[in-house]
């Protein structure tokens, strides 16, 4: 029981840290990292949920985490590509 609370609590803590960092920092890279930390928090919580109760662990949250990671990677790539476009234009001036 304690272990689940610890894992779940850590997930929520990561999420909150991510939100805080997203809101406080200006730089794009920091914002993107903050979003990924938020995502890791949510995935952490999902894994904790999968392991609770009886064995074998619930496979549904695992599938959700995998899908979530794919989505997060694509979103991060798009954000970085757009950020790089802006940087390139700044350099060209």
């Amino acid at each position: 029981m304690t272990a689940h609370l610890l894992y779940g609590g850590a997930g929520i803590l990561l999420f909150v840290l991510g939100v805080w960092s997203f809101l406080v920092h200006e730089a794009l890279l920091r914002k993107v990292i903050a979003l990924n930390v938020m995502g890791s928090g949510v995935f952490h919580l999902l894994i904790a949920i999968a392991e609770r109760g009886s064995l074998p662990p619930d496979p549904v949250p695992h599938a959700l985490v995998l899908t979530g990671i794919v989505v997060a990677v694509s979103a991060t790539a798009l954000a970085l590509a757009m950020g790089r476009r802006l940087e390139d234009e700044d350099d060209a001036r």
Partner: protein, 480 residues
Amino acid sequence: MLDSLALAVTVPLLAALLVTALPGRVQTLGVIGAIATALVSLRVTVQVWQHGSLRSDPGGWGAPLGLALQADGLSAALLAMAALVALAISVYATGYFREGERRLHFWPLWFLLWSALNALLLAADLFNLYVTLELLGLTAVALGALTGQREAVAANLRYLLVGLLGSMTYLLGVVLLYAAYGTLDIGLTGAAIRPGPVASAALVLMTGGLALKAAIFPLHFWLPPAHANAPAPVSAVLSALVVKAAFYLILRLWLDVFGAIVTPAAAGLLGLLGAAAVIWGSWRALRAERLKLLAAYSTLAQIGYLCLFFPLLQATPEGPARDDLLAALVLMAISHGFAKAGLFLAAGLVQHSAGHDRIDELGGTAQHLPATTFTIALAGTTLIGLPPSGSFIGKWILMTGAIATGQWWWILVILIGTLLAAAYVFRVLSRAFNEAPTPRRFVTQASTEVPALLLALTSAVVLGLGAQLLWRLMGFGVVA
């Protein structure tokens, strides 16, 4: 027989693959794909009309393990609106993106967006909703930045980051619901939900995250620059469909998942934010210097009107009065979808013809582009809420509901919003008409002007006169 719900998602996906694989015939394939997608979407609406709600479990995997698709009156009405608006935008886009690289980039993203939108409207599963929401957000951002101009890229990068914050917050809410109730199916979760800290936290997280994406005041800051800097057909999609999709999700969750635990205070808060959005959005639209910025701020106000329905729905017991409110809410959302798409397409034509869209220098637009000016006027009729537009009936039922539930203060908000809307619409029209000679031809460029005109005409005339059909589609008794 092929599953019509799955087809509504897969046909645009196939179209996206085809236009990517055969870039030489992108225009022809684009139009064919758009017609096919619109037809399969409308087929779903017809089936809901005939049989009530539909549900399918792809692969034969039922809930709670499978990812079901389902359509009821609410999603069918929005699906039909999306199909018609998107079809008009596709026709417009063939004229707008005549040549060059952008044409090749527009079509695949456009079909991916359409596919994500249909999937979002049909999903019956909270996690699938998250995935479709993200797909919709990513394609919308890519389309919005299509011009490659610095302002467009910067505005859409901000839109992307805000959207990701919103959907990640939504996802945390989904996880909490799964932890508490062990299911992701909308119907099963709604049946199992009990008042408590977990359910309340999920309600706040999911609504808050979606409010960011639906640009509900005060979380709207990203919308005006992102919508005003996109190419005209993309602005139309963003304002008419993408923002509506996030709002649809809030409505769906409040009705079907959190129905048992929503308190009057929570609904009142959403109404209050809506009221602030109506007044602030309309005021900024009146002060806007550019036509597209005016249209973007007016979207804020129109989303605000939709939020005003929540406290009334909460205060009205189940029955014909509540059904009327719900149908009026959908009618207003659909009318705004048509009107705003028409307005943005028309603004694109004005910008193309005049080389800019500064409202103060639009003199003579009525002479150069009579059909486009007529489109702006018709769309304006809907934004103000004049009869016989669909939003006239919507506002009428909204005000009746406000009186019936003793919440008269919302009427003041509606009146102020309507006055401001009249002011900002007539401000554009008075500028457009300030030159003398009579135009020679009504239509200047048929392939782009006619779709815009048809959209505005649908919002101002067809939806108002044919509003009863919506009640029938949603399975409610007809208003007297």
